[in-house]
């Protein structure tokens, strides 16, 4: 009977650990249960990616629909190329969708916001987003501001 | 007699046929931390009798039991138990040999996380494949022999010192060993407990026919039950014989021990020599 109690408690202990692990996986680190194979990739070129990093959010009207998979340099055009991994069920991005690098909050992280256009055709796996707007660089903003001030 | 797994069982169990010593210690030398504890000792322990190994404190009597049991290795020399060299046989052979040895430690050394019953059952479970009901019978038998059958469900912490030692004795004889070793069984016991223990040792030795080895420095009790005595001092055997022979021995060292004289070859005053420096040196560490 003592052994029984011990067994039950140890089992309970293990289950608790397992639950905590699952909690950590899903709630804390946002591990996606969905099949990553179904996600498709889109590419976008930017002059300046600012503080964008892999795993940064990709959202449509504020709703996250994917994440940044990788960032590299387009050797021909000498600009940055960002690979976006989009959820498989988001298959309605028009061919003239635009991508913009935005900042959430003042010190916040940078993410890519997509805006859908009017064309009937949709973007498919491997397509490039044509219309992109780079991140805002603080120095450029200050320069612009000063320039405007001067010309007043 | 218990049916044990070893094939050697029946041979060693017959105790009265041979007069050869059951344990033969040849030229045993052992040192620890630089100190020579045994120098070239020779002892023959007679079969089926109560043998006492006595000597002043610190002569390494417990160490001798551990050497016999194979827990410690000698620097040189042999310990032969019924012809088998304890330190040269394989691990499995040593395991089988240990079935035939029971040891009663000074403090009883019961396993504190098990009940009295489980403690006595432990060696049986380790060495045999007996079913539970048979184990139960044997354990109760052993506990009955030491008069503690009613305590079978108690935990060691609930026992008095004397009771704990009796349970440990029951555990030591659980497998009906050919050799039972008692490490200072009389130390620190009240007279009644002492009497009970002495009685048990003697009765069991007669009834079960095993060889008993008692390590002690209690002269009175030991003399009462020993058939043969070895007196150790300074790492050597200084006397060997029956209790009467030792009583009559006129050697200074023997006389001092046997009669409890405060001064003699083992001096009263702590000497101021090399040994002293060694001791102080050790303590500093």
């Amino acid at each position: 009977m003592r052994m029984r109690w011990v067994e039950i408690m140890v089992g309970f202990f293990m289950v608790l650990g397992l639950l905590a692990l699952i909690g950590l996986a899903l709630n804390v680190s946002g591990l996606k249960l969905s099949d990553a194979q179904d996600d498709y990739s889109l590419f976008a070129r930017f002059e300046n990616i600012g503080g964008l990093t892999p795993r940064s959010k990709v959202s449509l009207s504020g709703v996250q629909i994917g994440e940044v998979k990788s960032i590299s340099i387009d050797k021909q055009r000498l600009v940055a190329v960002v690979e976006l991994s989009i959820n498989a069920d988001v298959d309605y991005l028009s061919a003239d969708t635009s991508a913009q690098i935005l900042t959430s909050g003042l010190l916040g992280e940078q993410y890519i916001g997509l805006s859908v256009g009017f064309e009937e055709d949709v973007l498919k796996d491997g397509d490039y987003i044509a219309d992109t707007q780079s991140a805002m660089v603080l120095e450029d903003l200050i320069g612009k501001f000063l320039f405007n001030k001067v010309s007043e | 007699m218990l049916y044990s797994e070893s094939g050697n069982g029946p041979e060693i169990m017959s105790t009265h046929e041979h007069d050869t010593p059951i344990i033969d210690i040849q030229g045993l030398s052992f040192s620890r931390s630089g100190r020579k504890i045994f120098r070239d000792i020779n002892m023959q322990i007679p079969r089926g009798r109560v043998t006492a190994i006595m000597g002043p404190s610190g002569t390494g009597k417990t160490t001798l039991l551990k050497l016999i049991g194979g827990q410690l290795r000698p620097d040189s020399g042999n310990v032969l138990i019924d012809g088998q060299n304890v330190h040269q046989i394989s691990r499995t052979a040593l395991f089988t040999l240990r079935e035939k040895m029971g040891m009663l430690f000074q403090s009883g050394a019961l396993f504190t996380d098990m009940s009295v019953f489980e403690n006595v059952a432990f060696p049986i479970r380790v060495h045999t494949d007996l079913p539970d009901d048979m184990i139960r019978d044997v354990v109760l038998l052993k506990l009955q022999a030491v008069g503690l059958r009613g305590a079978k469900d108690l935990m060691p912490s609930e026992l008095s010192g004397g009771m704990a030692r009796r349970v440990a004795l029951a555990r030591a004889i659980a497998l009906d060993p050919a050799i039972v070793m008692y490490d200072e069984p009389f130390t620190g016991q009240d007279p009644i407990a002492m009497g009970v223990l002495v009685n048990l040792i003697k009765r069991m030795n007669k009834a079960l026919g095993h060889t008993s080895i008692i390590v002690s420095h209690d002269i009175q009790e030991t003399m009462g039950i020993a058939d043969h005595i070895f007196l150790l001092s300074d790492g050597m055997v200084i006397a060997s014989g029956s209790p009467d022979e030792l009583k009559a021995n006129q050697t200074e060292q023997v006389k001092q021990f046997m009669h409890g004289l405060p001064d003699g070859p083992v001096p009263f005053h702590f000497s101021d020599d090399v040994m002293m420096d060694e001791l102080i040196g050790e303590a500093r560490v």
Partner: protein, 260 residues
């Protein structure tokens, strides 16, 4: 002067010898495990003593540390207007550092010292010798189950600590400080990577578990069989374990997160 050096040298050699014995102990205990039939109940019992009985202190400590992190985090971040990042701060601190390290330190204090005392007592009362005389190897029967119990239990306790801590941080931030619940969790999920953070944290706690249990068990086994010896050994367990955990934490952190 030479006397002092001689003593220093001797202490050094003693420590090295002790390390050697410790190595032999863990090697023999792990290599020579008892048969599964015998081992399983022993292991279960040890997991109970070492893990289940530590749950209370782990959960309570985790909760409070998580809550404090939430509170402090908020206080610091609100000056930068970035208070929604408190979730990620709490989570990362806990998962990467606090959970493995604090759990290890608490474990060393509670379970480690208990292990040392228990084994030391068994040595002092000659129970280990008795086992040997009966023909049972104490390393297999006593030491090995305790070692494995420690190895298994530490990561589990660490994970529980982290989860409870994050929940505590959430409690403080969302319920009491008014952070928007959605962004608390969303920000956290964006910045905590399962492989980089959670798994590395678990690896850390496993390493700590090995070290702490090993030290605890060795100190008990090696101690002087007197009451003084046992108390010294218990102290040594807590001190050595703590130092080892903190030192290893630095090394592991540098290896795991240094390149980020």
């Amino acid at each position: 002067m030479t006397d002092f050096l001689a003593r220093l040298g001797r202490t050094l050699f003693d420590r090295i010898a002790a390390t050697g014995r410790a190595g032999a102990l863990i090697f023999q205990s792990l290599v020579a495990k008892p048969t599964p039939i015998v081992m399983f109940p022993l292991l279960m019992k040890q997991i109970y003593f070492v893990g289940v009985l530590s749950l209370v202190i782990i959960v309570v400590s985790g909760l409070f540390i998580g809550m404090v992190l939430g509170l402090q985090g908020y206080t610091i971040l609100v000056d930068y207007g970035s208070e929604q990042a408190v979730g990620q701060m709490v989570a990362l601190s806990l998962v990467r550092e606090m959970a493995p390290v604090v759990t290890a330190l608490l474990f060393a204090g509670r379970a480690g010292s208990a292990l040392t005392a228990e084994i030391g007592l068994m040595k002092a009362t000659e129970q280990l010798s008795s086992l040997e005389m009966i023909g049972v190897d104490p390393l297999r029967r006593i030491i090995a189950p305790r070692l494995w119990a420690g190895f298994i239990t530490m990561p589990i306790l660490s994970i529980i600590f982290a989860m409870v801590g994050i929940w505590g941080g959430a409690l403080v931030s969302v319920e009491w400080l008014g952070i928007f619940e959605g962004s608390f969790w969303a920000n956290m999920q964006n910045s905590v990577d399962f492989q980089e953070d959670v798994v590395n944290g678990i690896i850390k706690s496993f390493v700590f578990g090995v070290v702490v249990t090993w030290i605890a068990v060795f100190q008990g086994y090696d101690c002087l069989p007197t009451s003084e010896g046992i108390s010294q050994a218990t102290t040594r367990t807590v001190v050595y374990s703590s130092l080892a955990v903190l030192g290893l934490d630095f090394v592991l952190t540098a290896l795991m997160f240094g390149d980020l």
